[in-house]
């Protein structure tokens, strides 16, 4: 990353370098170090958002209350917040894939991989923003989710095939496999919800979609995988940063408890709608 960079990439890097902290770590530990911390921070943000998302979705059991909540959120400020959420989502997803490619598939061209992460992230965020602004796109939920789920299964199968026979711990393997599954699913989910104004905000549209058996099965698996990935991710961050044995165990148990409770609420929601 020391070579002179031009165009959008050069501009992005120069923007990032304006931050004294980023510049300090990029020059003393490399951009990979900065990306590793950014991956952690994005992951933590997403865990917080998922918990918040589950709380919001519990409102679906009382459609009137849910509609009131959505009406409150239906303004430019919250639309902007939703759009900015795409940044940690796509960055965490693509950077995770970059790491899987490095660790399991022997892709060592880091400079190129970092470029792809930045370029595809920018493309995703801009396209999502465009679709959110237009708000008039339509696609059959069944077709969209069948295609996305198939893509997710293909990616998962590829990673599974690589990782399963290795001597890594079971949790480590499952974290990579779940990441592979979530990559198309989460990116697809965010996209689908913003194709038009009703897809993610209109209570009747959401209930009708979620009551279909196929979508319900996909949602069920989605919730299980997402909470496993979030819980294991939290555990690794705690393990990496807390030295005291008792404190570490205590925090790990507390985080597991919170994740399990929210996973249970999410699964019950999917089952009861």
């Amino acid at each position: 990353m020391n070579a002179r960079l031009y165009g959008v990439e050069g501009y992005l890097i120069s923007l990032l370098k304006r931050s004294q902290t980023l510049s300090y770590y990029a020059s003393s530990r490399g951009w990979g170090f900065v990306m590793a911390w950014a991956h952690r921070v994005a992951g933590l943000l997403l865990v917080v958002y998922v918990l918040f998302h589950i709380v919001t979705l519990t409102g679906l059991q009382e459609p009137a209350r849910f509609s009131a909540k959505m009406a409150f959120l239906d303004n430019v400020f919250f639309a902007f917040l939703e759009w900015t959420l795409a940044v940690p989502v796509i960055f965490h997803a693509l950077n995770g894939i970059r790491l899987i490619l490095y660790e399991l598939f022997g892709v060592r061209d880091e400079k190129r991989m970092l470029r792809w992460v930045f370029a595809l992230s920018a493309l995703y965020v801009c396209t999502l923003g465009l679709f959110m602004a237009l708000g008039n796109q339509h696609i059959s939920a069944g077709v969209f989710w069948l295609t996305t789920a198939l893509a997710a299964l293909l990616v998962t199968g590829g990673v599974c095939d690589r990782v399963w026979q290795t001597q890594n711990s079971l949790g480590w393997k499952l974290q990579r496999v779940s990441a592979a599954f979530l990559f198309p699913m989460v990116c697809g989910h965010m996209f689908f919800m913003h194709l038009n104004a009703k897809a993610g905000h209109d209570v009747n549209t959401i209930l009708e979609r979620m009551s279909g058996m196929g979508i319900r099965v996909i949602d069920f698996v989605f919730v299980v995988v997402i909470f496993f990935h979030a819980g294991f991710g939290l555990n690794t961050i705690i393990g990496d940063t807390v030295e005291n044995n008792r404190l570490r165990t205590g925090i790990k148990m507390a985080s597991c408890f919170v994740v399990l409770v929210f996973a249970y609420v999410g699964l019950r929601l999917v089952a009861n709608i």
Partner: protein
């Protein structure tokens, strides 16, 4: 006469007798080809004989002069003033000890404590394969050696461990490398024990593939590549 530069070193100091830590500035004139260890010696001679620092071979082979210069872990015996000025684009440098072990005094860390991680990783062949019957030595064919000879250059200077994104509950990249080298060495037969050390709780699962180890390695070993080989399952199955 060679060009002289005005250098400022902001040195992290620590007095264990009163348990006080502070940063002390030293201004000095130095030629471009002086090494940082020469600067420390110059400070000892001309300004402050109490500044403690450590070095031994001063040929980038023993790894005892590792420090953080402007945050970057490197060997101060091979860092020239001119190189540092180009690398950091400044003539003011912060100098701090590595973070792998407690500081004994000023820039000296307890390397014995740091080496405990390496001892856990067993930096020797645990169970050597018997030599072939036709000779008294075990020969490694160049093709096999080429796969891991780069990793054998590690001098355990702990620069990678200082740069690593995971600072707690982790043996560190160099300790991982100790295992990787022996797992790739055809003379090692204790593969199950090696795998236990490598894939154990304080081993590979704590690596986040930040590649800071490769970025800072003074011996230019691509540490992250060798660690990734282990994750990838590139070694023979457990025997």
């Amino acid at each position: 006469m060679t060009q002289q530069y005005d250098i400022v070193l902001k040195v992290s100091r620590y007095d264990p007798d009163v348990q006080r830590a502070w940063v002390q500035d030293y201004s000095l004139k130095a030629g471009g080809i002086l090494r940082f260890v020469d600067l420390f010696r110059k400070i000892n001679d001309e300004q402050d004989p109490t500044l403690a620092w450590s070095s031994s071979c001063e040929h980038a082979q023993c790894g005892s002069c590792g420090m953080r210069i402007n945050g970057r872990p490197l060997l101060t015996c091979e860092l020239l003033v001119e190189t540092a000025m180009q690398m950091f684009n400044t003539s003011t440098f912060s100098v701090a000890p590595l973070t792998v072990a407690p500081v004994v005094r000023d820039l000296v860390v307890d390397l014995e404590r740091a080496y405990q991680r390496i001892h856990i990783a067993k930096p020797y062949i645990i169970a050597p394969a018997p030599p072939p019957p036709e000779g008294d030595e075990y020969r490694i064919v160049p093709k096999v050696l080429d796969r891991y000879v780069e990793a054998t250059r590690c001098i355990n200077c702990f620069c990678c461990a200082t740069a690593c994104v995971t600072q707690k509950n982790h043996l560190g990249p160099n300790a991982m490398l100790v295992n990787v080298v022996r797992m790739m060495d055809p003379r090692e037969t204790a593969m199950k024990q090696r795998a236990g050390l490598l894939y154990g709780e304080q081993g590979l699962p704590r690596c986040r593939t930040a590649q800071a180890c490769s970025f800072v390695c003074p011996k230019e070993i691509d540490v992250a590549h060798f660690i990734a080989l282990a994750k990838q399952g590139a070694f023979d199955p457990v025997s």
